[in-house]
């Protein structure tokens, strides 16, 4: 496959995903090796901790050993006397600067360094700046903090008990741990449907607290130039421009005097969206010492204090006719937000996009009521590749459909097929108000069933059961909603979620594309060059993609929620089209014809009807910078800028089928097969898409089988290292069997939909459904560790969010 046309036809005709990499760089879409990997595979990536600035100091944070305690005193004198220590900063120091508290992304405040109380284990208490990282750590042991322990609130189900201690007594007038109540959907209509439905199934389920756990932890180097008054912050951020604006708002620094630079990032998954106390302390440390200050958290700090994900206790109900037609779904959610409401969602949506939970099915009514509570756990609630809580929504509906099928003795595949939205129903407005753009769900599902050999698998399962062997087949069909978002409905801290792009063609026909989004390993340097290449016929090899540096890139809200391709990708296509129209004028002047008489063929313009009268983009670029006379009002050079405000989200979908074998004597689960058919619209680089899917599927196995952050009754974090918080390895993953269907998004300029989080969203319920199918249990919560599987088989499942007693 050497041409784009071949590649796209091949995809559409066979439906079989191809990672075959072209021998030469495609002039646009198609699988090509990632440009950035030339440095990564040589070990030449340049990450935050690789950066050394002359005179740079190091830092460390003293953290609370207790989950809930009043601070009686902090004595820093011994630490300050350490010969290599340059500064010790406490909450009191920050309070003097008005920086002891900072706003979160969700209408709350968060302590930068604790002043009155500590509210979760691992909370930041003091910040030491020293000549080297050893001395900084040594000095932590010299700080004496006197605590008065308080009862912690650990079980979210008891956070609203009348006798529960009030965690946020810093907030005036607060007498309980209630954070918010939020609803979506038509409650009365939903209740009416449930009242008259033939069958109703209900289920309590927990999506446990988990962590993004990127390979690289968070960190920053703050450098305040006293002479120019400019603050430079090298930092691990998925959203450099949002960070700059927040620094300006929090610290009162002039925005034009702040430069945020994100170097190579070793994974984000939502972990690098927020602004953490360590970042703010590094800035203060630099102001205090007059030197650059580096702060890099260690693994335990990352797991204990930054941006958990999920933590939704859900009670779901689903209604259907006796013939298996789904009628409605309703859910009550208890959302554990930890000690500060730091969740990163569009600011008008406290449960994010959770209310997409009617899923992929034609249903008349749906309703949810979400109650958020404070607990003595770390704040966060960002992503982990969750598309703003769609992970929880998909898990809910895909578990409920399986529970209903089990209760009624229906085949879960048949039940889904009967109720999936049909292609002629698009655009489809759900009972919860989302307008799905496009899809052919039955075709996508059928493809997965065919690849898996569903009927044969069920036959095999029957034979195995007769022999006493436990084999399970689990299905999930998901609809994602990604590409936040339309400015009128979605913002972060009042900043509309539109993205800018700037494209400049150099005189020799090479190009530079400047973006507001920020890659964390997704391959933006390649994909975005391919988008421009497809529009202009300039090789991706000749297009430099610039991101991460706020002094070098246009404003935009960054990379999370699978929004890069839907928003910044659209901006890149639109800005390339603007440049193309500029090039048309230049070409018309070169050929001395009217611009209307020109026809575009990838790579240049020619006169209609006369292909020999043509100018290539390279020729046009040089001419645009030359002494060529251009029409009045047409400036020279060849560049353009654009801001893309998405008209709607994009809605990728997928059908996943997981096959597991369970050892009934030990509870061990072996994932034998995993079939994943994804529809993310037009695929720019199929190889990169498949890589994204691979990672998300592994995530799903991790979520379903091993990942969890549980807490003991004292509030001790029981997943604070990689010995305790388990991530899946290749040994737990089967060789993925991928497929695809392509239904372009009608409102995206190139028909693409986001895909970064699809597999993370879609895979956990497939694995859980498979395990429960194998052991014949109606429901048990994630993670299904061997111990939990064994207990579930005995009808005594575990509370996975609490310490195992």
């Amino acid at each position: 496959m050497t041409t784009t046309e071949d590649a796209r036809t091949g995809v559409a005709d066979t439906g079989v995903a191809s990672t075959e990499v072209a021998a030469s760089t495609p002039m646009g879409y198609g699988s090509m090796r990632r440009k950035e990997d030339a440095r990564f595979i040589r070990g030449q990536g340049h990450y935050l901790d690789d950066i050394v600035i002359p005179g740079m100091l190091h830092s460390a944070i003293l953290r609370s050993p207790l989950a809930h305690a009043r601070i009686l005193s902090i004595d820093t004198s011994a630490a300050e006397a350490h010969p290599k220590v340059k500064a010790v900063i406490t909450g009191e120091t920050l309070a003097g600067l008005g920086l002891a508290w900072m706003p979160t992304l969700s209408h709350d405040v968060q302590a930068v360094l604790a002043t009155d109380k500590v509210r979760f284990q691992g909370q930041e208490v003091a910040f030491v700046v020293a000549e080297d990282r050893y001395a900084a750590r040594d000095a932590l042991g010299l700080i004496e903090v006197e605590y008065e322990p308080l009862d912690p609130v650990i079980d979210a189900k008891h956070a609203l008990d009348p006798e529960a201690p009030v965690i946020r007594d810093d907030l005036e007038g607060r007498t309980d741990n209630h954070l918010f109540d939020w609803e979506a959907g038509d409650s009365a209509a939903t209740d009416a449907i449930f009242a008259s439905a033939d069958v109703v199934s209900e289920c309590d389920m927990l999506y446990p607290r988990s962590h993004p756990a990127p390979m690289e932890t968070c960190g920053s180097i703050a450098s305040m130039d006293k002479v120019t008054g400019k603050l430079t912050v090298h930092t691990t951020t998925q959203a450099p421009h949002a960070h700059r604006t927040v620094y300006a708002m929090v610290a009162g620094l002039p925005e034009h005097k702040i430069q945020i630079i994100a170097p190579d990032i070793g994974g984000g998954f939502g972990n690098k969206v927020g602004i953490y106390p360590g970042y703010v302390c590094a800035v203060v440390g630099s102001i205090v010492t007059g030197k650059p200050v580096k702060w890099v958290e260690d693994r335990s700090e990352n797991l204990m204090s930054t941006s958990f994900a999920r933590d939704y206790h859900m009670h779901g109900e689903i209604a259907a006719t006796k013939d298996g037609k789904l009628l409605g779904v309703r859910v009550k959610v208890l959302a554990d937000h930890g000690a500060f409401n730091g969740t990163a969602q569009p600011s008008k949506m406290p449960a994010g996009l959770f209310h997409v939970f009617s899923g992929s099915y034609d249903m008349a009514a749906a309703h949810c009521a979400v109650t958020g509570v404070y607990t003595n756990k770390s704040p966060g609630g960002v992503a982990y590749a969750c598309s703003f809580r769609i992970t929880e929504a998909v898990y809910l509906i895909e578990r409920l459909v399986d529970v209903l099928a089990r209760d009624q003795g229906w085949d879960p595949a048949e039940l889904r097929m009967k109720n999936l939205l049909r292609s002629e129903q698009f655009p489809y407005t759900t009972a919860l108000g989302w307008e799905y753009d496009s899809g052919d769900y039955p075709a996508t599902f059928q493809k997965a069933l065919d690849i898996a050999g569903y009927d044969e698998l069920r036959a095999e399962q029957r034979e195995k059961r007769a022999r006493g062997e436990l084999m399970g087949i689990g299905i999930s069909f998901f609809t994602e909603a990604v590409g936040a978002g339309p400015r009128k409905t979605m913002d972060i801290l009042g900043l509309g979620m539109a993205d800018g792009a700037e494209l400049r063609i150099h005189p020799t026909g090479k190009a530079v594309l400047r973006l507001s989004c920020m890659t964390q390993g997704q391959g933006h340097e390649t994909t975005f060059a391919q988008i421009v290449a497809e529009e202009l016929g300039i090789s991706p090899d000749d297009i430099e993609v610039v991101q991460g540096d706020t002094d070098q890139t246009p404003f935009g809200l960054g990379t999370y929620g699978s929004r890069s391709t839907p928003v910044s990708g659209a901006a890149a296509a639109m800005v390339a089209r603007k440049v193309r129209e500029r090039a048309r004028i230049v070409a018309a002047a070169m050929l001395e014809v009217s611009a209307d008489d020109l026809e575009w063929e990838k790579g240049g313009f020619h006169v209609k009807g006369d292909p020999s009268a043509a100018r290539t983009m390279t020729e046009i670029a040089m001419a645009a910078h030359s002494d060529l006379e251009l029409p009045d009002g047409v400036e020279g050079h060849l560049d353009a800028t654009c801001v893309y405000n998405p008209p709607n989200l994009t809605y990728p979908c997928g059908a996943y089928i997981c096959v597991v074998d369970v050892d009934g004597g030990t509870g061990q689960v072996k994932v034998r097969r995993f079939v994943a058919v994804d529809d993310c619209g037009v695929r720019i680089n199929p190889m990169i898409v498949e890589g994204q899917v691979h990672g998300g599927l592994a995530d799903g196995i991790g979520m379903a089988l091993m990942e969890v952050m549980a807490f003991d009754p004292d509030g001790n974090h029981l997943g604070a290292s990689f010995m305790d918080y388990l991530l899946p390895t290749s040994m737990e993953c089967p060789s993925w069997e991928l497929g695809e269907t392509v239904t372009p998004s009608p409102h995206h300029p190139i028909g693409a939909k986001g895909v970064g989080e699809s597999a993370t969203v879609g895979s956990p319920p497939a694995v859980v459904n498979a395990v429960l199918d194998a052991i014949g249990v109606r429901h048990a919560d994630m993670p299904l560790t061997p111990a939990h599987v064994w207990r579930a088989m005995q009808g005594r499942p575990l509370r996975t969010d609490l310490a195992i007693g």
């Binding site: 901790d49 990282r133 050893y134 750590r137 040594d138 042991g141 890099v296 260690d298 693994r299 335990s300 004597g665 030990t666 509870g667 061990q668 089988l705 091993m706 549980a710 029981l718 997943g719 010995m723 305790d724 388990l726 899946p728 390895t729 040994m731 737990e732 560790t785 061997p786 111990a787 064994w790 207990r791 575990l798 310490a803 195992i804 007693g805």
Partner: protein, 294 residues
Amino acid sequence: MQVPAQFEYERATSVEHAIALLQRHGPESRVVAGGHSLIPMMKLRIANPETLIDINDLDELTTIRLEGGELRLGAMVRHAALLDSAVVGEHFAIFHDAERVIADPVVRNRGTVGGSLCQADPSEDLSAAFTAVGAVAVIQGPDGTREVPVREFHTGPYQTVVGDAELLVEIRVPIRPGGGSAYVKVERRVGDWSVTAAGAALWLDGETVTDVGIGLTAVGAEHFAAPEAEQYLRGRPATEESYAEAGRLAAEHCNPTADQRGPVDYKRHLAGELTVRALRRATARARGEAIEGA
């Protein structure tokens, strides 16, 4: 970034030199072999030794050999070397079973047999394996060497009989004909510590179990052993019924504690289930039968 507190570093050039260094630096010094337990503990500042005595140059402790009717393993034999050794596999398949599920290849390249025993982590796999085969530890001090059965080696979690100025130098395993051995482990994920594991070594005379050793990992079994189950099995027929009762006894007499790897009842169940599976596998090997995955 996790960094250790300040410490002194000495590099031993011989066993005698290592012992002299231990004497010189006293009880606040620690021997470092593979370092895959000690160094992380130092970075977390759970361990803060004043001096590290590095014994990685002691090549005399890296040999695997047959001598005097025994398999003799130097304390500095790396996990990977134990796994690679055909001699070890021929006589004690249990060690290959165990090594395949200890951590990951990177750790196995560095971690040592002696380090595992001396770390005495209750979830560590080799202690139960050595217990099952009736191994003897050779400990050297300023006044010479002494031999301690592995069943008397551990005095509690993270504690052994090795004195402040002593070094574990060798582990000896007596070789007897007619035997087979196996190790079976349940872990939450590859490379994790055991939820529970069981090792078994047994010797048959026809269909009768003439002798047996059973080791249990991570279930609070004293000295990693299951003496009641062993006692029951000796002289009994090598049958499923015998093994089921041995498993029941092993489960009954161990003392697991709950943690995030599992509740007490599950670990106790596994102690029995895995004891049965290890006995089954060891029996098949003693009979010379082919074993799946072996």
